[in-house]
Amino acid sequence: MKFVDEFRDGELGRAVAAQILGAVEPGRHYKLMEVCGGHTHSIYRYGVDDLLPDNVELVHGPGCPVCVIPMGRVDDGIAIAREEGVIFTCFGDMLRVPGSNGTLLDAKAEGADVRMVYSPLDALRIARAEPEREVVFFAIGFETTAPSTALTLKRARAEGLGNFSCMCNHVTIVPPLRALLDSPDLRLDGFIGPGHVSTVVGARPFEFIPADYGRPVVIAGFEPLDLLQAIHMILVQLREGRREVENQYTRVVPYDGNPAALRAMAEVFALRPHFEWRGLGFISQSALRLSDAYADLDAERRFSVPGVRVADPKACQCGEVLKGVIKPWECKVFGTACTPEHAIGTCMVSPEGACAAYYNYGRFARDRVVA
């Protein structure tokens, strides 16, 4: 298949791996963060890290929106789902994210009308088909998903659909990166920039990373050769003393992103003053709400929600995993009490979560001492 087969070529992969080996300085340890959960998934699905020298370490970033959603927001969604007459729609993975007292799937088992959709447009179709019911879409995701929500809300407005609303949990990628760079816990040498987020926002928003923090960024695609090439490009920048934003994924990502998508988002959304990220705490201007012009379609204004901050389970170390401070298998409950079938932490829920990626691809036993 075009753009797939040629980026999974084993011989080319080994050649790029050899170039990576030639680009590292012996005795230096490199910590590179892949920002995006899709990258985390690809790295472990294809064993990309097995092709890297021991002194190149990949750190998994906060780029899985399911993984960073705090429990309180799940509780708010469940409260709306339990309202009389509501059809609550969300993506599949959200159904299994634990709140303080169960998941949306539990709420469904207890009688709430919770339905999985593949897109917000599916939710809009339900609203058209069932005009006597209130249909709420639980919007989540980075800037890749936000345009879809924005266009759906514009359609709802144009069609005068009074029974459709949105609980907005969209987040933005740049503020958590700045928070990570400001964190004393973590020393990073470079970033593998998110691929499809950048189709919307472009490469320009990442320019602050080399400019303010002196770290290289290479925006990368999702095939194994994309990732290997991006890692090589970062290492070459470091070796040559360059610090800039480069785009490995030029076949998909325009440097200026998608202006039409950005305009739609600017019309429909406004920045929240602050938003809680699981493991990272409150980050200023890191999430979106509906703009005043679309306030009548805001589910949080239409329904009452608890809006209570809930502490994470004590056993769960998702926060440290999301900050890259520990590896998933170093969490006390990883692979024992916490598995994809029965997740305690959000990182084990989504296939893009670092814990699920390790678990699903058999990397959970790594570095464990065998008696």
Binding site: D93, T144, H196, E352
Partner: protein, 66 residues
């Protein structure tokens, strides 16, 4: 079970789906993925979409022409 058969979580757009435009249908385009999945896709964000083109689609919205 979530009922979601995707290998990768669709919640995060970072694994978009490549889809071929089968036909235009008003503001939407009927598109087909390599696995045979057919969806009505919003194409308002990509100028001048034509039949036969390949688009990167996330959550039923085309983000870029490939």
């Amino acid at each position: 079970m979530t009922g979601c058969d995707h290998d990768v979580c669709i919640t995060c757009g970072d694994v978009g789906v490549e889809m071929r435009v089968v036909r235009l249908d008003g503001d939407l385009a009927v598109c087909e993925a390599a696995d045979g999945d057919v969806r009505a896709v919003e194409v308002a964000l990509v100028d001048g979409v034509a039949e036969g083109e390949t688009l990167l689609v996330h959550a039923d919205v085309a983000l870029v022409r490939l």
